[in-house]
């Protein structure tokens, strides 16, 4: 389903829920759209792709027709080949200041919490909030926690955190309301690098507990 968002963007809606399989279709469609030169950029999200174009060189109708052609080629079996990344995480202590409290609230031991968080593979549903922040899921339902009632004013870059059915990593120091379970030394965003981002939307991520030295 296509709808205009202003005179330079089109929203493609593939569904209406947060679901890993639906989201994989979003990224498969996003990959197909990259072959349309008139599209200047895309924002794949949970169940939508927002397509940006230049209204000085093309029109809504032209872009909508090109998207509909791609959608007609597109079926349940279309998948985007994903990159799989392993992310080392130091859980708990100063690296994960909320680990103990979250474990207590969920009636889990800290090691069970770490196991439940790190044994799954997650999909990067979308990126946003700050440059390079990956929204990932879906968490084991035993780990669902509401956000902090009062967000922290500064969450350090590299913090691995959870909220609701999702997990994420803070790419830069920023305010944040998610529960911090651990820290990764990997750099998620480096504006001076030729490839500034560690992740791309649609990537598969697995956390590897770092048992320290």
């Amino acid at each position: 389903m296509l709808k205009p968002l202003g005179d330079s963007s089109i929203l493609i809606q593939l569904g209406d829920e947060i679901d890993p399989r639906l989201n994989q279709r979003v990224h498969a469609l996003d990959a197909l759209l990259q072959t349309i030169p008139a599209i200047t950029e895309t924002v794949p999200a949970y169940c939508t792709v927002l397509v940006h174009y230049d209204p000085l060189t093309t029109t809504y109708t032209e872009i909508a027709n090109l998207i509909n052609e791609k959608l007609s080629l597109f079926d349940e079996s279309t998948h985007r080949p994903s990159h799989r990344l392993e992310i080392p995480v130091l859980y708990g202590g100063a690296s994960g200041p909320d680990l103990e409290a979250v474990a207590t609230t969920l009636a889990l031991s800290p090691s069970e919490l770490i196991r439940l968080h790190s044994e799954r593979e997650y999909t990067v549903y979308m990126m946003g909030f700050t440059p390079g922040f990956p929204y990932m899921g879906i968490l084991d339902e035993k780990l669902n926690m509401p956000r902090l009632s009062s967000p922290r004013t500064r969450v350090p870059a590299g913090s691995v955190a959870i909220a609701g059915s999702q997990t994420g990593i803070y790419p830069v120091d920023s305010p944040g309301g998610w529960h911090i379970l651990g820290h990764t030394p990997l750099k998620l965003f480096d504006p001076m690098s030729e490839s500034p981002f560690l992740f791309a939307p649609g990537d598969i991520v697995k956390f590897i507990p770092d048992h320290g030295r």
């Binding site: 968002l5 202003g6 929203l11 924002v43 440059p131 500034p196």
Partner: protein
């Protein structure tokens, strides 16, 4: 003093006229001044906003008055004043709304170019009737190209705001500086800036999340700009817009001009540094043609109204205006 280093250029960035050298020193500054080019493209899906000018019309005019390449970096000045001293002879253009230019004894209007000799001091002074001024320089400002753009994005730590004492470089212009001076922007092409603008908008994907009464309120009442506005968004104040659906929106992409209606039912218009995605329902989206009019509305002063159009009509208008 002359810094004749050759700049290493990214292939996708603006055309380069020649070696760059120091041209201006900022001697006094209030408000927010950043370098902006036409924007940073290709990184929205990673959560990086497009940035670029708040008022694309004034930005383009400033560069075209000086025959600069259309993507050249300019100083965008908002909500304050800047004074700078020329370190070498140059020609500058200042456009926008709500400012005037003082050069020793003369006061210049905006939308003109003027020659500045080494040692002269120029002040871009706040008046009323707008928020943003664009200061372009012959050849274009030089600054590090980050992710294919010279646009500053403060929240993302890309570039930094100008401050007193900063020295700016510009590329050498191939044009005769005197011939670029004393040019006026053609009156017939002018943007009709107004403090009572009627802004054209296209209904957005969640337009049907609002009651008919809410839609009527949006199109028939007047809104003013709240004083807490910035490059990220313009919060408007006026009659609340009633929703028909109370569920939460799953975050999806948005763009400059997207009008979100959060829980307090007052519109927020996304501007140049807006997040690439958001989770509030969008009632409508400002047309590209009318973004400059909204960008220059004054907090607490302007009376803003919205008028509905279609994407087809908006695009036809854009094409016609280019003929």
């Amino acid at each position: 003093m002359d810094d004749r280093r050759l700049t290493i250029e990214n292939t996708t960035s603006s055309m380069v006229y020649g070696p760059s050298s120091m041209v201006l020193e900022v001697t006094d500054l209030s408000g927010i001044a950043t370098l902006q080019d036409s924007g940073r493209r290709g990184w929205n899906k990673f959560g990086v906003p497009t940035s670029g000018p708040m008022d694309w019309f004034a930005y383009q005019a400033a560069n075209s008055l000086l025959d600069n390449s259309p993507n050249s970096a300019v100083i965008e000045l908002g909500l304050g004043e800047i004074t700078f001293r020329a370190l070498r002879n140059t020609t500058i253009a200042v456009t926008g709304a709500g400012y005037e230019v003082e050069n020793y004894v003369w006061t210049f209007p905006l939308w003109t170019t003027f020659y500045v000799r080494a040692g002269w001091t120029v002040r871009v002074k706040k008046t009323s009737g707008g928020n943003w001024a664009y200061i372009a320089i012959a050849g274009g400002f030089d600054s590090p190209v980050i992710m294919n753009s010279r646009s500053t994005y403060l929240r993302g730590g890309i570039g930094s705001a100008l401050k007193t004492g900063d020295v700016l470089n510009s590329f050498a212009s191939p044009k005769d500086l005197i011939k670029l001076a004393a040019r006026d922007f053609p009156v017939d092409k002018f943007m009709p800036y107004s403090q009572t603008p009627i802004i054209e908008v296209i209904p957005a994907p969640q337009a049907d999340w609002f009651t008919p009464e809410g839609i009527r309120t949006f199109y028939e009442s007047e809104y003013t700009l709240s004083p807490s506005f910035d490059r990220m968004g313009y919060r408007l104040q006026g009659s609340p817009i009633e929703k028909a659906i109370s569920k939460e929106l799953i975050s999806e992409g948005m763009t400059m001009g997207s009008i979100q209606i959060p829980a307090d039912e007052q519109p927020i218009v996304m501007m140049a540094d807006a997040p690439t995605a958001g989770g509030y329902p969008k009632i409508a989206n400002v047309t590209r043609a009318d973004l400059p009019l909204l960008a220059q509305c004054e907090a607490g002063v302007s009376k803003i109204r919205f008028r509905e159009t279609t994407v087809e009509e908006a695009q036809k208008r854009t094409m016609d205006s280019r003929r």
